[in-house]
């Protein structure tokens, strides 16, 4: 058994190659993580931030298969040889809250970690009640997990892990699916957690981390590029602001759009006007109906009340097909657009030459193996196929780092200059401010100008 007496973690010449050599991540030399440190891991998409967390959690190679060289030591003991050593001592929160929920009731989900420690049921129940009261989630205890919103699910997952009192807490983009208010609530719970514990964050949205982080490790696939203290972190790199341009003719007008789900009315009279070469931003809380509105505008939800007027008078029978041929909808997750196993097939019918050039040497590659930024640009090209006059983008900055956001803004600029009207739905306020001429908030079922 390899033993090294040193820090909490020692990453020593660690190298991990994903199956079939798709991607290799290397950390040359010795990298130490001390007890009580609060570390922010940054770096471009695909630089191995999440992989590092999985390695520190003892999930490599047991859950995440691949070729491992070098080692990671936990308090001097090799994790690769003894993944059990971190069991119960470290907790990991992942991006997607739905995939982390294991039980059918909230109470059982909260109990899961403590049950694994073989604690007496009575004590667990008392503990759940105490934590629920402390964090104001008593109303959720009797609910089933499949009825929770994304924010509530993430909160439950986080509390379930915190209740086991892990010495090390790792968070892999825990706010990616959340609106700013839910994200703030999650961060508040973390702030209230014991200050002596070690925290490791992967997060693109740095707004919530100020005052929480003590160290920043910037990574690329060859290891740590820079290791700096909190004082040296650049919290806000300004995104390039798009210049205002002259709007073209009207492309679409929404008049008193209303839509109801069986349980509630979600849109209560939405009015909006979209012109050529115009970029409009829409923000709002999780579940406020932003995505539903985009689906109505792109012709995917035909049952609504109100009017959609287009540039030309389209006969009623052909309206939906015409709408779908003139408008493209970009989904939150770029992978949702991929229907084939080769980039070349995905690009068939592409109208954007600069995108074609970017993927010239990747045509035979699977779209699923591209970097996050490339996936986003490819999905935008797919969405634009057929020279769409209108583009509706649902959370386009999801999972994108600063550099990719900059590239996305430049892509939007090019599309706008071709006359495309763009509507962006996003929680990323900075991105909206940089890219949009007009921002609305969807509040109580109506669009309110900011």
């Amino acid at each position: 058994m390899a033993i090294q007496l040193e820090a909490l973690y020692n990453i020593k010449d660690f190298r991990f190659t994903y199956p079939e050599g798709a991607h290799t991540i290397t950390w040359q030399g010795n990298h130490l993580i001390q007890e009580g440190e609060r570390i922010l891991l940054t770096g471009a998409s695909g630089s191995g931030k999440s992989t590092l967390l999985y390695g520190l959690m003892g999930l490599i190679p047991e859950i995440l298969y691949g070729k491992v060289e070098g080692d990671i030591f936990f308090r001097g003991i090799s994790i690769i040889e003894n993944p059990e050593i971190v069991k119960g001592k470290a907790g990991l929160i992942l991006q997607n809250p739905s995939a982390q929920i294991l039980c059918h009731s909230v109470r059982e989900e909260l109990a899961y970690g403590l049950e694994n420690k073989n604690i007496a049921p009575k004590k667990i129940i008392d503990e759940i009640d105490e934590w629920a009261e402390k964090f104001g989630i008593e109303y959720l205890l009797s609910q089933r997990t499949n009825s929770l919103s994304g924010g509530e699910k993430q909160k439950i997952t986080l509390l379930s892990i915190l209740m086991t009192k892990p010495e090390i807490l790792m968070l892999d983009e825990p706010t990616a699916f959340l609106d700013p208010i839910s994200a703030k609530e999650i961060m508040e719970i973390i702030r209230q957690y014991d200050e002596d514990k070690t925290l490791l964050f992967v997060e693109h949205n740095l707004d919530f981390l100020k005052g929480l982080i003590t160290r920043n490790l910037d990574l690329d696939i060859n290891g740590i590029v820079s290791d700096r203290s909190a004082e040296d972190i650049i919290w806000h790199s300004p995104l390039p602001q798009l210049n205002k341009t002259a709007k073209g003719k009207m492309l679409m007008q929404l008049e008193d759009i209303r839509f109801s789900y069986p349980e509630k009315e979600i849109l209560k009279g939405v009015d909006l006007l979209i012109h050529e070469s115009e970029i409009i931003g829409i923000k709002g809380r999780n579940g406020s109906g932003k995505s539903t509105l985009l689906q109505i505008m792109s012709g995917l939800k035909p049952k609504f009340s109100g009017n959609i007027l287009l540039e030309n008078n389209i006969p009623k029978g052909k309206f939906r097909r015409h709408l779908q041929s003139m408008a493209g909808l970009l989904f939150q997750d770029p992978e949702n657009h991929f229907l084939y196993h080769k980039v070349e097939k995905e690009l068939e019918g592409n109208d954007l030459q600069f995108i074609e050039n970017e993927f010239a040497d990747k045509k035979n590659q699977s779209p699923f193996t591209l970097s996050e930024g490339q996936k986003r640009r490819l999905s935008t090209a797919i969405c634009y196929q057929g020279n769409k006059k209108l583009l509706f983008l649902d959370e386009p900055t999801f999972g994108q780092d600063f550099l990719n956001k900059k590239k996305l803004i430049s892509l939007l600029d090019k599309l706008r200059n071709q006359g495309t009207g763009i509507v962006i739905v996003s929680h990323d306020n900075r991105f909206l401010k940089a890219a949009c001429e007009q921002i609305y908030e969807l509040k109580n079922g109506k669009l309110v100008k900011e």
């Binding site: 999985y54 959690m57 003892g58 999930l59 047991e62 859950i63 995440l64 069991k87 119960g88 470290a90 907790g91 990991l92 992942l94 997607n96 739905s98 995939a99 982390q100 929920i101 294991l102 039980c103 059918h104 009731s105 109470r107 059982e108 109990a111 899961y112 970690g113 403590l114 049950e115 694994n116 420690k117 073989n118 604690i119 007496a120 049921p121 667990i124 129940i125 759940i128 997990t145 499949n146 997952t157 892990i161 792109s298 995917l300 097909r321 779908q324 041929s325 493209g328 909808l329 989904f331 992978e335 949702n336 657009h337 991929f338 229907l339 084939y340 196993h341 699923f368 969405c383 196929q385």
Partner: protein
Amino acid sequence: MQGHEKGINDLVLFGLTFIYTIAVLISPTWQICIYWVVLSQLQLILLGRLRWKLVLIFFLLLLIPGISLFITSYLHLKEGFDSYSIIIWGRVFDHYRLTQSLYLAIRATALSVISFSYLIAIHYERLIYSLIQNLHFPVIWGYALLVAFNSAGNIQSELKRIQHAAMMRFSRKPLFYFYIIPLLVSATRYSQQAAMSIQSRGLSQDKSFIQSEKLRFYDLLYLFINLTGIIIPLIYLV
């Protein structure tokens, strides 16, 4: 203990599914077959596990295939060596063919009703906890099954998203093979994240449960009463 209302242990109901299925398969007459179906359905309704309307609707839906089965088997069956004719509503029928066809149709319908009703009545998450707590079912398999049950909602939303993506691209609903690659990728991601969630929260075979699913005296008594209800008519017939 908190959580759901305490009722009959789901492991007992799971066992009864097989017991009633075997009973119907070996039933000597169609009358006993009907008696067992009624017995099984009545108790599920009285236990509050099934709504009688649902059973009725399912039964009515089964009437058409049941009658079709009866007619086709009557037409294809050969007369038995002790056959005799009977007259019903002025028409002559062969008694042997009639009873055998009826027996076949009722047995097939009974099997469908029993499997459907228990499928609806059993709480699968409770069954898994019961298997772990009573039969030492490995927890890693148990939680993997729970994740699989949870994933149904995820698959549904994935299907919808793929459908929307294809509709935006081709202005029509996609053909089935368009779903394959995105669904496979999504399922792999989902299962990997779930596995990480299970492992990173320290899953252990020696674990406690806030909700006890241990078999109690009442569960065993309930099982015994059911077995008695199944066996008594058999003894009476013998």
